[in-house]
Amino acid sequence: MSAQPLLDVRDLKVHFRTRGRTVRAVDGVSFDIAPGEVLGLVGESGCGKSTVGRALTQLERATAGQALFEGQDILSMSRRQFLPLRRHIQMIFQDPYASLNPRLTVAQTLSEPLFIHKIARSRKDAQARIAETLDLVGLGPEAMTRYPHEFSGGQRQRIGIARVMILEPKLVIADEAVSALDVSIQAQVLNLIKKLQRDSGMAMLFISHDLGVVRHISDRVAVMSAGKIVETGDKSAIFEAPQDAYTRRLLDSIPRIMPLKETS
C-alpha cells in the first residue's frame, strides 16, 4: 500500500435529530483507503454503514470528523466546492430499479454527468463515450435510446455502473450494489465490478451486509456495529481469524453448504 491514502476518514460522526431525540447513526468511524484498494465495509442493517457512504458523497451532512480525499477535507466543503470532486468520488446504489430516473433514456442518464463535468464537449463526443462505456459494462449501443423499465434488474445495475464508470472516478462507493439482485445475476455483476476495478485501478469502498460478497471483492475489511467500526483488517485475517466477538458471531451465523464435493 502506498504511504498516502486516497481517502482518510477520521472520527466521522453522523447524528440525526428526530422528534427531539438524537440518533447516532455513525459515531466516530475512522478508516483509510489507498489508491486502487477495495475496502469492504460490512455490518448488519442499521449499523450505520450506508450512512458512512452517504456522508462521503455529501448526501448526508456529517456532524463531526474529517474525510481527507487526496488531502482535502470533503466534509467541510460546500455543495459548490465539492462539485469538481464529485467526478472523482462516485457511488453505485443498491436498488437498480430506483436509482435510475424512469423518465430519462439511458443516453440522457449517462450524458448528464458528462456535461456537468464538462467531459464531453459535444453531443457527438458524448454519444461516443456513452457507447464505449456501455460496451464496457456489457451492454450494446442500442441500449442508449431505451428507458430503464425496458431492462432487467441486472442490466439496470450495469447501467448504474456505467454512469459511474463514465466519469473514470478515483473512488467508487458501492452501497449494497448487488444485494437486490438474484444470485445468478449477482455473480455476473460482481465479476463485472471486480474487473472494472482492476482494469481502471480505482479504489472502492464496498458496503454490504453479505459477508461472502465482501470477502469476494475486498482487499481489506472493516466490520461495523452500532455506528462504530469494531474490527478492521486484511480480509483473510478477518475471515480466518476474527478477533472481535461480534465478528465471530457474525461469521458463525452464516449458513454454510457443507458437503461440497465436485463431481463432473
Binding site: 448526501l59 467526478r87 462516485q90 430506483a98 436509482s99 435510475l100 430516473n101 423518465r103 448528464e112
Partner: protein, 283 residues
C-alpha cells in the same frame, strides 16, 4: 406514439371513462367551434320569443331574455373549458411551484407551507366568496379565485409527492453526478410528477366547474351576461316549473361534464405510480 399507446392503455376496458372522454371531446369541439355551429347569437335578445319551449329552431328553448339556450349552451362550453383550464393553470403554477419548492428547500418550505396551512383553514367556497366580493365579477377574476382556492390543495399534494421523490435513489444518484438544484427539480423530479399532476388537473377541472356554478348561484361568479352553464342555471332558476328546460339542459351539461372529467381522472389515477395515489384526493 408512446403517448397514444399509454392513453389507450389507461382507458382500455373502461367503457364509462371512454364515454366520458368522448363527451369531453364534444365539449372541447363545441368550445372551439361555437361561433360556427351556434344557430343564434347567444346575446341576441328577443322580447317576443321569450321562454319558448324546446323545438325547432330553438333546440333547448329560449330563456327569459328570449335568447337561444342552445347557442348559449354551446358558448357555455367555452366557459367550461376556459374556467377549467384557467383554474388548473393557476392552481398548478402557483400551488404547484410553492409545493415543489417547499418540499425541496426545507427551510423555505417551513415558511411557505405554514402559509398554505393558514389558507387551508378557510373553506374553499368561503374564501372564493370573500375574494370575489373583493374583486369585480369577471371571467378572469373567477378563474383566478377558483385557481387560488385549489392552489392550496395542489401545494399540499405536490409538497408530499416532491418529498417522496426527493428521497428517491435516482435523485441521490443525480446529486452524486453533480446535478444542480434546478436540474434536479425540473429534470429529475418534475417529469415524474407529470402524470399525477395530470390526474390532479382533471379533478381540479371537474371541481372548478361546480365551484364556479356555486359562485354563479350566489351571484358572485362570472358576470351574469356571460353565457356559462352555471349562469344559465342560476339566472333562470326561478323558471324551474314555468320553463323546466331552462334548468334541465344546463344542469345535465354540467353534471355530464363534471362526471366525465371525474371518470377520466379516476381512470388516469389508477394508472399512475401507486405511491402518489393517496396524495390525490379526487372524488
Amino acid at each position: 406514439m408512446m403517448a397514444v399507446a399509454s392513453i389507450r392503455s389507461v382507458f382500455a376496458g373502461r367503457t364509462f371513462a371512454q364515454i366520458g372522454l368522448v363527451w369531453l371531446a364534444f365539449v372541447a369541439l363545441a368550445a372551439i367551434f361555437s361561433p360556427l355551429i351556434a344557430p343564434f347569437d347567444p346575446y341576441e335578445i328577443d322580447p317576443i320569443a321569450r321562454l319558448t319551449e324546446p323545438g325547432w329552431p330553438h333546440l333547448f328553448g329560449t330563456d327569459h331574455f328570449g335568447r337561444d339556450s342552445f347557442s348559449r349552451a354551446l358558448y357555455g362550453a367555452r366557459m367550461t373549458v376556459l374556467i377549467g383550464l384557467g383554474a388548473v393553470i393557476v392552481a398548478l403554477l402557483t400551488g404547484g411551484l410553492v409545493g415543489m419548492l417547499s418540499a425541496y428547500f426545507t427551510r423555505l418550505g417551513h415558511v411557505l407551507m405554514r402559509g398554505v396551512d393558514v389558507l387551508m383553514a378557510f373553506p374553499a367556497l368561503l374564501m372564493a366568496l370573500v375574494l370575489m366580493t373583493l374583486l369585480e365579477r369577471s371571467v378572469m377574476n373567477t378563474i383566478i379565485v377558483i385557481g387560488v382556492v385549489y392552489a392550496t390543495t395542489t401545494a399540499r399534494i405536490l409538497f408530499g409527492m416532491t418529498l417522496k421523490l426527493k428521497g428517491e435513489v435516482f435523485v441521490d444518484a443525480a446529486v452524486c453526478s453533480g446535478a444542480g438544484h434546478a436540474s434536479i427539480l425540473f429534470r429529475h423530479i418534475l417529469p415524474n410528477l407529470v402524470s399525477p399532476l395530470l390526474v390532479q388537473a382533471s379533478f381540479i377541472f371537474a371541481f372548478a366547474q361546480l365551484q364556479a356554478a356555486a359562485l354563479d348561484f350566489l351571484g358572485l361568479g362570472l358576470p351574469p351576461e356571460v353565457p356559462s352553464w352555471g349562469n344559465m342555471l342560476s339566472e333562470e332558476r326561478i323558471y324551474v316549473t314555468r320553463a323546466p328546460w331552462l334548468l334541465i339542459f344546463p344542469g345535465a351539461l354540467i353534471i355530464l361534464s363534471v362526471f366525465s372529467m371525474n371518470l377520466v381522472g379516476d381512470a388516469m389515477r389508477d394508472s399512475i405510480d401507486p405511491r402518489f395515489k393517496d396524495d390525490i384526493a379526487g372524488v
